[in-house]
Symmetry: D2
Subunit: 362 residues, 4 copies
């Protein structure tokens, strides 16, 4: 993991700025022979795509992905991966750079404007440039390929909290996810959130959220202790998503309040003769290695920093000023972070799958 | 980050099992000319060393470190780093392997026994082998070198919560840290914790905790977006510590409940003409790059899994059984995680310092 | 160096197949503020471009490069690098895939057809797919950026041998390089080569060659011993070029015949008070670190494997057969390897420059 | 490959200076369950050990290796690898640092003294410190583990040239290797070399050599094009050995003089139904991937730079002077490079074996 590349055997390198001609990703190290065409990727991009409800930015991007390399027709005439780098490209079509003209010389609080300037001495200020959440489309595209490699591993994400409003876990129903604009597994919570977010949106404000991603079907044994632990890589992957400020595995921060008796996930033998854990405080990972239980990861997304209320800031010349961020923004970026979290889970898992297979032959 | 190596330009590789002859670390890529002798490292190892109060394991390890390479006397006769790999070695002296005889064939819930067997088909069961928290001594040793390189950056950790009992942040006093066996910055909390932990310990139970590590003096500009973000690497680093289940930067998981107005860290110009942030919800990092504010990172440590109460488990032959873990254990491993968290912060920061200097010449 | 990425701090990832829609490279880790537009790259691509004389393949490719990310106008309105990934793309325009139809089922001796099938179970046979020398256009494009970062370091390559015919080193004149279609620094040799290659070409045969690349202006101190030695990385870089079978630094293979007295590059102090080496058997590198002398690297390029004479081979079904390779090929691929060798030298040097600056602050 | 670590999935990190207390290596990523004890390693170290004939340095080092981690007894009571890092340590016992006192302030031509000072501003001058060929003991130790993992792959090296005297390839007999102090496969050449080297040695001079390493039993398919090619990694690995100035695969530099007809390794189907190549100019590698033929790699080793004849040089204060290098040195370091070359071949191959298995499941 360095600069703009993530992963070891399955390596994802992304490039592109929010308002440049295009963004994209190179997926390197993908196993050969995996059926793959653009529709396999597009379906996931469409879930992340902006402008699909009033609760996300109104920027209209088709987010149509093209595969430029790394696939070929096999003997049966089906397009499959060849083991060489897969180049993915998504054109930027609806930039409206004029919207961002007045932030050229001011640092938006909560954004990366100030730090990019501090680091590089220059920044592409149009739409946040490289630090824009637009880059997450590349992650979702790469994650779609990772999913294909993983096969039977099922990776699903959900929004479990917006502001102070958490879902009722007793209502959890995966089938409800697609039925509301929030990826909520609790349809009642979704109704409440709609009202709550409408008010936030009309106020020109924004609010944070919590995303939960669960992977089922991961066998025991994936992970590379001690410095390539599965949970370590997941934590890094999720924290690398724009606006994420906290990451939890299993019991997460609440583990601080558990006793050893409460925390221990006891083990029995199931009817199929395989180990069964009676609880999953570990979130499916012990000692950095998967247990065979579902991998459970949560992360908190801070509120969109672009808000209508004026905030105190400084300009690039070092003078005090105020800024109001207009433009088209998500009132709750956490919503569209759900498919991004799924993608990062898939990318981490497939990298560990390949590494585990490499080291152990399993 | 792969297998047992952490970092890019400043690379730490650790090795060793809890009950093998020794453990150690190779620190590679350390800048030359840094004054370094064993006492620089020992002082930090002594803070992590077990057996210093009744609240940590009674295993007695001198944890005396030896430097086997990478240093030499400079023209002034002072021992300094030479830019070549620094090999650190710590003998294991008090293993008492007999204590662990009865866990040879049983998987301790909450421990890595089951997963190491699942991954590798074999495990050194003595004291947890490679997955033992004993390995964190190597981290602390490597972190001590990282601190020397960082110079004026001040890295300090504190325990801020044990079980349900949080410190009162109004009482925060760094000078109190050394005055209690918990690294508590709130001496009143320390008194309460002593009573609370005595009960836990006498019950043969254990409890979780939260550690906070703060780095002051980091200039703006460190971090390598998008997949080597400073917060990404910190999250991974902290999650790689034994028993950690959650990591937060700045506002952390609570960012989910903030509005955009609350979350935005407004900026003014200070008397020295430099930017001053009016709050630090960002924890000193925006867009993966340091802002110049203190870097603030918290992580939750689950309770020690080795407890006296019998737990349901299975044995290596797939039969159901129970296990009671005797031996000498920390009732709250979170305490000794404080210097480990500091070490990981130092290692991440120095790696980013060198990378930033490399890419930008700053 | 892994899969399709080369370098550590300055990282080049290439993608694309010979007859896919495009090829390209991501240059990641480039320092910010370096003036860069497409013409800076195009000038080097034009030197590698096919179809410029009768001695190279007649495939007509404009090799027009586009920069898709990583640059922006600075305050002076000049386009410079921003420190974010630079995506380069070159469309494939003259593929004529029909030419390659009959090699779909046969393995061309000397080509990678057999091994790609053995490794991946599938290959894009059109024009060699990923293993085509067409990929070297991406290297040249990335190398052009590396040159910009290196500034005053002068990197020049020359063809010094075709088949049995070596240049006369007494005739070496860098200014002659551009005056013949061989990059020959000896114009007399170029005349002889023209006749010699005409015959080879008319026979439908091919011939090997030796390229020499020299970098002047590299200061002493670049290189990362012991496993990131400057000569190690150069050797790997040159050997990674298509058809290269041998790499030499300084005296090269001939060092085997030297005595210690002959080999020692004695040192004096020059008029400017700086060390002067009286010879350069070391090729500018001692102990993996640059000496300040010119870096001298040579590599042998095998003859083009695509020839008209029928060769015994097998087909993909395991039957014996023969193959004659038609299509448009270079009679001596070594010629166009000259700018590729320069590019790899530049890429290695800039990576070591950044790493050296990172570790030592120099 | 960075700094002092080599490899990706099978990673070797070495440390230690010639006259420090010890040297060593960490082998990380070794598959679990491989039988391994110290004698498996010692047998290879003994082949590289100095002082075994009058043709190598008279320094007496037992080179006794200790395994400090990463192994454990399996259920059958046999010591095997556990998948965790294997720490290897070799004490330095016969340093005689006084021998090197007078080189403290002078740069020996051909040695790394000048460049280490230029890079790091400090060097451990005792016996060459980190740049001493003593480090190659760590490589041989790590290579011994790589061999165990490779199983049936047979890796053998030979000295094929000393100064102007090449072996007669018609006399090649692997069984002769152990019967002479030169690892010569041609016993007649060995006799000639003995006389030749005696004269070199008595003159206090030194001479270069060429080593050839061959790996048999490597299946088709190993290698990671385009920037982790098998030949690329071999070239880098061999060039990283002390004093190596040239590396060849298969036909090597002589490929420059071959025509396409001569160079093409034609393919037939053997009696076992498998592909048979009629020649091996490719050295077992096409397109960076193994063909199933023997992997053939040669490298040139320059003469020992430590010679009795006075050479012009400068001192650390920038004054012109002369130096005569006394001490115990190899008149032909190429001899002891044979087991080192074998070790690097083994390390490269096992890394590619694991990576290939990881990516393709083969």
């Amino acid at each position: 993991m360095s600069h703009n590349t993530f992963g070891h055997l399955f390596r994802v390198t992304t490039w592109g700025e929010s308002h440049g001609p295009a963004i994209g990703a190179i997926v390197d190290g993908c196993p050969p022979g995996i059926p793959l065409d653009e529709s396999d990727i597009q379906v996931h991009l469409d879930r992340r795509r902006p402008g699909q409800s009033r609760f996300t930015t109104q920027r209209q991007e088709a987010d149509a992905v093209k595969i430029l390399s790394g696939v070929f027709n096999n003997a049966s005439g089906k397009q499959v991966t060849t083991g060489t780098p897969i180049a993915l490209e998504i054109q930027n079509t609806d930039q409206r750079s004029k919207d961002y003209g007045d932030i050229k010389d001011k640092y938006r609080p909560g954004h990366a404007d100030f730090t990019y300037d501090a680091k590089y001495g220059i920044r592409d200020y149009r739409g946040g440039g490289r630090s824009s959440a637009r880059e997450t489309a590349s992650r979702v595209a790469a994650g779609a390929i990772a999913r294909k490699v993983l096969g039977d591993v099922k990776i699903r994400g959900a929004l479990v909290q917006i502001g102070p409003h958490k879902i009722d876990r007793g209502n959890w129903n995966w089938d409800d996810i697609a039925g509301n604009p929030f990826f909520s597994p609790d349809k009642k919570a979704a109704e409440l959130w709609a009202d709550y977010l409408d008010k936030i949106r009309k106020d020109g404000s924004s609010i944070g959220a919590v995303v939960e991603v669960i992977a089922e079907g991961v066998p025991a044994g994936w992970g590379a202790p001690l410095y390539g632990k599965l949970d370590q890589d997941l934590a890094g992957a999720m924290m690398s998503i724009n606006a994420v400020k906290g990451v939890e595995i299993g019991a997460g921060m609440a583990a601080a309040e558990l006793t050893g008796e409460q925390n221990a996930d006891e083990i029995r033998i199931g009817n199929d003769g395989k180990p069964v854990f009676l609880s999953n405080n570990a979130g499916g990972i012990l000692g950095g290695i998967s247990t065979g239980q579902p991998i459970v990861c949560r992360f908190a997304v801070k509120p969109t920093s672009s808000i209508l209320a004026p905030r105190k800031t400084i300009d690039t010349h070092g003078h005090e000023t105020e800024i109001t961020t207009k433009g088209r923004h998500d009132p709750c970026v956490g919503i569209r972070a759900v498919p991004v979290g799924e993608a990062m889970m898939a990318i981490v898992l497939v990298d560990h799958f390949l590494r585990h297979r490499g080291q152990t032959g399993a």
